[in-house]
């Protein structure tokens, strides 16, 4: 069993607790050991690199890299935002001596920043054999069309995150196909959902997310799959606000990758925390396909 340092981040420990819950279930099912970082702090998310000159966007994740560096060789950050911030910090600490010195002044010891940082898709692709997943899938996702929604920060900027194609990422596909779902063409995989503007400039989020949902439905997709809690918040939690603002009547479920895989493995929507979503209506898939 391989063990990874696990950096949940603020979202997975609060507003996106169902992401954490489903991740732990899937990890246990495939014998992936998770060792949560001790006393981790917020990675700075979107506001830190955009405020006060941006250095906090490096300093905050640097502390987490350092904690991880003293335990395991690899760490996983399922939240796409945390993953991006950690990769940025790693890059800057390697190339910017002045920032590294400032970090070390606070830590009062040499900073360990070279731990391998993995995102969720990367970790699952490494640890899960698609044949094994296909064999254990219960056929619940048969005939279900899933839209793979990657968002921005998982794949951009490519020279920092070094993961998948920044315009047309594909790495979720083998996992979801093995889980039994079909993956139709979906051109809005990396369209921005409106990011952190939900409270301060709501119309940007509602407009950006509405376009994504509209295109999703035009593609004949039953549910979106994501690994970003902020995208999830904008696309699912705010879906009623979108309906109110534009007079639409969308009821599009948005699942975390581990929830989709968890469904295929036979976990119930309640166990995976899907019932906490605004659009939790995936019961009929499981019922329909379980009966057969």
């Amino acid at each position: 069993m391989s063990v990874y340092s696990y950096f949940p981040g603020c979202s997975l420990s609060s507003g996106a607790m169902e992401f954490d819950k489903s991740f732990r279930l899937v990890a246990a099912a495939f014998d992936i050991g998770l060792d949560e970082l001790t006393d981790w702090n917020c990675c700075g998310a979107s506001p830190a690199p955009h405020h006060w000159g941006g250095d906090l966007g490096i300093l905050l994740p640097a502390r987490n890299l350092h904690i991880a560096g003293s335990s395991h060789d690899s760490m996983v950050a399922p939240c796409a935002g945390c993953f991006n911030r950690l990769k940025y910090a790693q890059h800057e600490l390697a190339h910017n001596g002045e920032l590294r010195r400032r970090t070390e002044r606070v830590l009062r010891e040499p900073v360990h920043y070279q731990t391998e940082v993995l995102n969720l898709v990367q970790l699952l692709n490494r640890e899960i054999d698609p044949g094994d997943l296909a064999g254990r899938s219960q056929g619940r996702l048969a005939g279900i069309a899933l839209g793979t929604y990657y968002g921005c920060v998982l794949v951009r900027p490519p020279e920092i995150v070094r993961y998948d194609d920044p315009n047309n990422p594909v790495k979720m596909e083998p996992l979801l196909k093995a889980a039994g779902a079909t993956i139709p063409h979906f051109p809005f995989k990396t369209e921005c959902c409106g990011s952190y503007m939900g409270l301060a400039r709501k119309e940007i989020v509602l407009q950006a997310s509405r376009r994504i949902i509209e295109v999703t439905l035009e593609c004949g997709i039953d549910a979106l799959v994501t690994v970003c809690p902020l995208c999830h918040q904008n696309l699912d939690l705010r879906q009623q606000q979108i309906n109110d603002a534009f007079g639409t009547d969308y009821h599009l479920p948005v699942l975390y990758l581990t929830q989709a895989i968890g469904l295929a493995l036979g976990f119930s929507p309640a166990e995976l925390g899907i019932e906490a979503h605004l659009n939790a209506d995936v019961g009929h898939w499981t019922l329909r396909n379980d009966d057969q």
Partner: protein, 188 residues
């Protein structure tokens, strides 16, 4: 501190600074407009991305530093991916924003700045983000108490949702990290 109106010499200096810090060659932009056509937030900007690039080319730095665009850019980096001249447009906007912050320009998009400041102060205090605390603080500060309150019942369905702040043990170390940011950036 920058004084206004910006003199021609000062404008040229700021321009060179933006070029140098972003590492981008502004003159390479030939105004094809592809950045703007990919931008999901351009409808809320005062200057769409290609026009912001043009303003910089002709030295209208003041307009750029004080723009909504510099504050509202989501940094999704789609424009940077699509630029035929491989200019990191998002990086240019981001740099303009940092320069504006350092110059103490605080008038545009006050709520967006307030949100960013509130978010980071919240993290400074607890070490992690306390979402409920941020929402209440922001609504109170913007005099908009009902903002997103309708979402609360949904959020409370998530059993782990923190009503009280999730505090880490070594908050002192996190506060020291905050003290390491360059002094000029405290405002905004």
């Amino acid at each position: 501190m920058i004084s206004f109106p910006i003199s021609i010499n000062e404008g040229a200096r700021l321009l060179a600074e933006i070029e140098q810090r972003s590492g981008q060659r502004l003159s390479a932009c030939y105004q094809c407009g592809r950045c703007t056509s990919t931008c999901v937030a351009a409808f809320a900007f005062d200057y769409p991305p290609h026009r912001l690039m043009r303003l910089l080319q002709v030295g209208m730095v003041r307009e750029v530093l004080a723009s909504k665009t510099a504050q509202l850019c989501l940094d999704c980096m789609t424009c940077s991916m699509r630029c035929p001249m491989k200019i990191d447009v998002a990086g240019v906007i981001e740099t303009a924003k940092a320069v504006a912050d350092e110059a103490g320009l605080q008038d545009t998009e006050r709520n967006v700045r307030l949100f960013r400041r509130g978010f980071l102060n919240n993290v400074r205090r607890h070490g992690r983000l306390h979402e409920a605390g941020l929402l209440i603080w922001f609504n109170f500060k913007t005099n908009n108490p009902m903002n997103d309150v309708k979402l609360l019942p949904l959020v409370l369905r998530k059993k782990n949702f923190h009503i009280f702040p999730p505090r880490i043990k070594n908050r002192r170390q996190v506060r020291r990290l905050f003290r390491e940011i360059n002094g000029s950036g405290k405002q905004g």
